[in-house]
């Protein structure tokens, strides 16, 4: 691939919106009274995220994250917490699927307005080594949801 194309992809990856969420993460911190807390690690880079979720029936009432990581993982976590607050677990499952498709390179998902600011992460699909970073918080969320399903049985 010509270097100029690669440079354009780098610019598309590190958009202002992503850097803003990296620098000023939303919903970062601990959550009192969380129903589920999940720690997820990326052993490749040593990054670690803790996701805390509080439910109200089938709805996510509140979610926060803590930990440290790269711009991609932190921005993904920050945007995810913004988007999913107040969503039902069904909506969450659907959005999680859409996001996964988007970072894997599905261009339909990347024009889905329901994804909100998360669409700015579509550039990750060009960097297979970084897809894991974008999915870290979402994988934590998946575990949190399944833990909840398990405990409510």
């Amino acid at each position: 691939m010509p270097q100029s194309d690669r440079s354009a992809q780098i610019s598309a990856l590190y958009q202002e919106m992503i850097l803003d969420h990296y620098r000023r993460p939303r919903n970062k911190g601990e959550l009192e009274g969380a129903d589920a807390s999940v720690v997820m690690k990326n052993p490749l880079c040593g990054d670690e995220i803790a996701l805390h979720v509080a439910f109200d029936g089938d709805t996510i009432r509140e979610l926060k994250f803590s930990g440290r990581g790269c711009a991609i993982s932190q921005a993904s976590a920050s945007m995810m917490t913004q988007l999913l607050k107040g969503k039902s677990t069904d909506e969450v499952a659907s959005l999680r699927g859409r996001f996964r498709e988007m970072v894997m390179g599905n261009t339909d998902a990347d024009s889905d307005t329901a994804m909100g600011s998360l669409r700015s992460l579509s550039g990750v699909s060009r960097f297979p080594a970084r897809v894991k970073c974008a999915l870290l918080a979402w994988n934590a969320l998946e575990t949190a949801l399944s833990e909840r399903t398990g405990s409510s049985r």
């Binding site: 880079c45 040593g46 711009a71």
Partner: protein
């Protein structure tokens, strides 16, 4: 001078700046040719057949051992056991010497500077044998704290394991000082991880004074999947085999088996003969350049990279000064995560490693989750550093100067 033209992958990618040789080196054409030539002219199972071709394969395999032994200053080539690499070599010692000789309340001393390959096998051995794992701390600038080491070594120390050169920081450890301290204060078996020293400067095993020395072929211009363990004959002879199977036996009776002699005793199964032949070609290639020249070349590049990176606001370099390091520059840039830095550098064809470098205990002590690491070898030149510096400046721009 750079030897880039000798390396087909680099010759094919003129804009590639490969700065990850501490992870694995590129391979010169002479190594690839030697392996192909082995398969085309001498391929048979060594030590098996009475026919001429098998004898030729055996000769090539044994010849490779002698060449590599000469390269590493090993007087007795039979004390060089081929393995898959450093990791397997260290596991061999932990298993075959460690298990029968380490008892409850014995102590194993490792250092905080280790690669997981020279840390986890000892940690697990200690757990298994109810022994104590003692960790020698590092100084602020990434050297081993020799006072700490002195305080840890006692007559209870059964094993001392440390690296010759740190893969994460490039620190060159004072092997002779460490060995004389260990001999004075303990009866420990001394294991040296040479994965990062064998490729980068002249190593004479017989002069190092350590009991075991482990190394990998793929970091020294050789193929992946071949490396070695050098040890004292008296220790090897007293050890139980690591793996059992073909080639490592003498007589197999229905209820018992006797072992072959060194080095076969520790080489169960069909050996990686082509790998050994490739590694011998790599040793000859490096000898042709001269290991003193390899060191000089890398040090020149690293000194310059170190100085130029330091000029960039926000850059922090880990480890001792360049004169005490091998070909590594480990650094961070402000709050830019090393992974993001590596991605941005990759955009300009600069390959560096970002992460914990398989050295999580060290990263915790440095209080970072990761660093960026540029590592140099014989094919690098100042244009690689130009690209590295440019890429770091670009990352600074992408992430905004204010935060750095």
């Amino acid at each position: 001078m750079s030897h880039r033209a000798d390396f087909p992958l680099l010759a094919r990618n003129p804009v590639l700046h490969y700065l990850d040789s501490a992870a694995t080196s590129q391979k010169p054409a002479v190594v690839l040719d030697a392996m192909r030539e082995f398969y085309e002219t001498s391929n048979a199972n060594p030590h098996r057949g009475a026919y001429e071709l098998s004898v030729a394969a055996t000769d090539r395999y044994d010849g490779a051992r002698s060449t590599i032994a000469r390269f590493l200053g090993i007087g007795d080539p039979e004390c060089l056991v081929f393995t898959r690499g450093t990791t397997e070599s260290i596991n061999l010692v932990a298993s075959s010497w460690g298990r029968p000789n380490v008892f409850p309340d014995d102590e194993i001393v490792v250092t905080a500077l280790e690669h997981h390959a020279n840390f986890v096998p000892w940690q697990q051995l200690a757990i298994e044998r109810s022994a104590k794992l003692r960790i020698c701390e590092t100084t602020e600038d990434g050297r081993l704290d020799l006072d700490c080491l002195r305080s840890l070594l006692t007559r209870r120390t059964k094993i001392l394991a440390f690296n010759h050169v740190s893969n994460a920081l490039g620190t060159i450890n004072p092997v002779r000082d460490i060995v004389s301290m260990a001999r004075e204060l303990s009866d420990a078996v001394i294991v040296c991880d040479g994965a990062q020293s064998a490729p980068h400067f002249r190593v004479r095993y017989d002069d190092l004074g350590v009991d075991f020395y482990a190394f990998s072929g793929h970091k020294m211009c050789g193929p992946m999947g071949i490396g070695g363990l050098v040890g004292r004959r008296s220790l090897f002879d007293a050890m139980v085999p690591y793996q059992t199977g073909g080639d490592m036996i003498e007589f197999v009776h229905d209820d018992t088996t006797t072992w072959n002699v060194l080095p076969n005793k520790f080489e169960a199964g069909t050996p990686n003969a082509a790998g050994a032949v490739g590694l011998a070609a790599a040793a000859q290639y490096l000898d042709g350049i001269g290991m003193d020249e390899v060191l000089r070349h890398e040090r020149e590049l690293v000194s310059s990279a170190d100085a130029r990176l330091r000029e960039i606001e926000g850059v922090r370099i880990y480890g001792p000064p360049p004169a005490e390091r091998s070909g590594v520059v480990s650094f961070t840039l402000g709050d830019v995560h090393p992974h993001d830095l590596a991605t941005i550098l990759d955009g300009d064809g600069v390959c560096i490693r970002a992460g914990n470098h398989c050295a999580q205990p060290l990263m915790r002590r440095l209080d970072v989750s990761a660093t960026a690491r540029a590592s140099y070898y014989v094919y690098n030149d100042s244009s690689d550093t130009d690209a590295l510096v440019e890429g770091v400046l670009k990352a600074r721009e992408v992430f905004g100067h204010a935060a750095v």
